[in-house]
Chain length 92, copies 2
DNA sequence: TCTTATACCGGTATTAGTATCACGGACATG
DNA sequence: CATGTCCGTGATACTAATACCGGTATAAGA
């Protein structure tokens, strides 16, 4: 095996990541945000639903810019290990 | 066309990005930083040399954590310019 | 009811990221 | 001088991300 298949932990992290993005999107439509970020709506949907658990850095950066969220907070919030204490929905 | 091939602008951005990472690495060795970030040294080398212009988000996040740099600064610094006048909505 | 818009889902195609393998150079040590 | 180790590099293999297409479901509006 040359390229390590995504581990269940990575997929879980992808789901958290997608949930974060979806929450940040709020009531705006997918196509709206996707267009603002310069990615296709399908890609945004896959990221939000966790079907693309490890998106490209600049894709995330564009989405974060479109959603006006911090990359650092985003990266920190989706790490499962870091939430040992805060279990509420407002952990982000 | 199903998957947009990387544009020259994206490749340039990747080179800038790699240069930033290499500068942030300083005198530390590749294997050192790569191990700290949990990626292979070859991957780090490719990113640094710009041969992997659009690395995965979490790969970048891990490297940024290992190098102790901000993701937001990293994402902003690697944009050539294109933000002189009418910016705000990214380059769609 | 019918139409429209949004989101979800499956499959498909193609490019790109990542890891392993193998090689050459630098440096230290025997 | 030979050898082992570390570092960087090139080539190769394989999985994943991205985009496009079709279909489906639900809700709002004419």
């Amino acid at each position: 095996m040359v390229r390590t298949p995504l581990t269940p932990w990575e997929r879980q992290r992808g789901e958290r990541f997608g949930a974060l993005l979806r929450r940040a999107r709020g009531d705006r439509s997918m196509v709206e945000v996707a267009a603002a970020a310069g990615v296709s709506a399908e890609t945004l949907r896959k990221i939000e639903t966790g079907r693309a658990p490890t998106p490209a850095f600049f894709t995330v950066a564009a989405l974060a810019a479109a959603l006006d969220v911090s990359l650092d907070e985003l990266a920190f919030a989706c790490v499962p290990e870091a939430d040992a204490t805060a279990d509420g929905a407002l952990s982000a």
